[in-house]
Amino acid sequence: MDVLFKILILAALAAFGALTLKKQAPEFAFLLTLGAGICILSMLASQLPSIQMVYTFAAHYIPDTDEIVGPMFKAAGICILTKITAETCRDCEQKALAAKVELAGTIACFAVAMPLFSQVFAQIESML
């Protein structure tokens, strides 16, 4: 809860500061929001060990966790990072760049899920 309050306050202050700086120095406004975003993500990184503990616990009891659920977590992470980066680009009014970032995220998701597709094709081949 403490981390959440810090993140909320940091985000609110950064948004206000960016709004103030946007008219005089838009590039500094962008840097302010970018810096606030990085700070927020670093605060969230401190929560990752608890998620990793749940994943390790699940992997101990469910045999397919690494093969099936692992790529899903990776794909979820790629989607989240892609979303954040694309929105940052749109904040700078760079929609074309945002579209390219989303395309890269899509391809990265497919690349991460390739082992799953291979597994499905192998099972279909065994059925046939």
């Binding site: 699940a58 659920v69 979820a76 597994q119 499905v120």
Partner: protein, 367 residues
Amino acid sequence: MKTVFRLILSVVMCGWLTVCCAYALPDTADTLYEAPLTELEDALPKDAQEAAGDFELAASGDFAAALGEIWGNIFKPAKTYLVQTLRSAIVVLVVCAIYAGVHVFCERNARVFVFCGTAAIAAACLGKLSSVMTIGQQVLQELTVFSKTLLPTLCAAEIMTGSISGAGVVYTAVLFVCDILITVISQVMTPLVYAYCALVTAYCVCGNEGILKLSRLLKSGITWSLKLLLGMFTGYLAISGVLAGATNAVAVKTLKLASGAVPLIGGVISDAAETVVAGAAAVKGVVGIAGIVGIFAIVLLPFIKLGVCYVLYKIAAVLSAMTGAGELATYAENLSDGFVLILAMCAACTLMILVGVFAAILGAVGI
């Protein structure tokens, strides 16, 4: 003098015939009990023999105890399978939960995650579906082999009770429809089940309503075909079996009346015939119960496995829908319907053989 001589000869012959029947019948009955039971036990596959355990319980006619022994023998493997399937269903639930979280945050990239989630659920479920299909086909093959040993034994005993045409009807109907059902299931319905799974996977990926309707049509077609085959079988037995049974019961009663009209030794023949009929009915009853126990030993564990798969994946789909997984939850639910189709195929064949067995058992009392 001649009359006295004939009377003494008649008494001696009647006494000799009665003693012969009294000594012959227990041995005959023992032979009648042992040989069919041994054949039935040998016709069971190895797994079913282990599940059935002591076949003497069935031979004693204690159906409840025999079923209890089967349950005791299959409980541990069923529990192990339940745990394995539960783990697989939890994987489906976790994938759907991750998708639900991603979908809330990144709606633009959620479609990509549907592809990945579909692949994950397919990887978790298709292997299980394939193994379950193998279990179903194995059950059908084992039931066919067992019925080819059980039904001739039952029908032979039914013939001994006088239900000649009834035995023929049951034997012909069960084996004929069983062969048709096995052929249809292995050559037609199994590929259709795989096609159904492929269609629901395609629907999850692309969202085309036409694909969904085609998959529902396939599912309905499989269900209607099974109902049609079972309906034709039971209808044929109802029309042919009942009439044939009534005719034979009357014939038996007529024979008994005719044999009772013969002087001096007529009564002995009538009593011996009744004893043979009663013994044959008793033998058929024991063999019938042993046969039903054998059928349960073959199908109970596979049915539990099929039911466990269907229930657990259905629960995972329902819980996934509650998390807001959307397309992936629907996909998991549609895949669980594939398991119930396999269960329906095995249940149809089992039901048909059980109806035939009961028809053969009840044929002795003229029902």
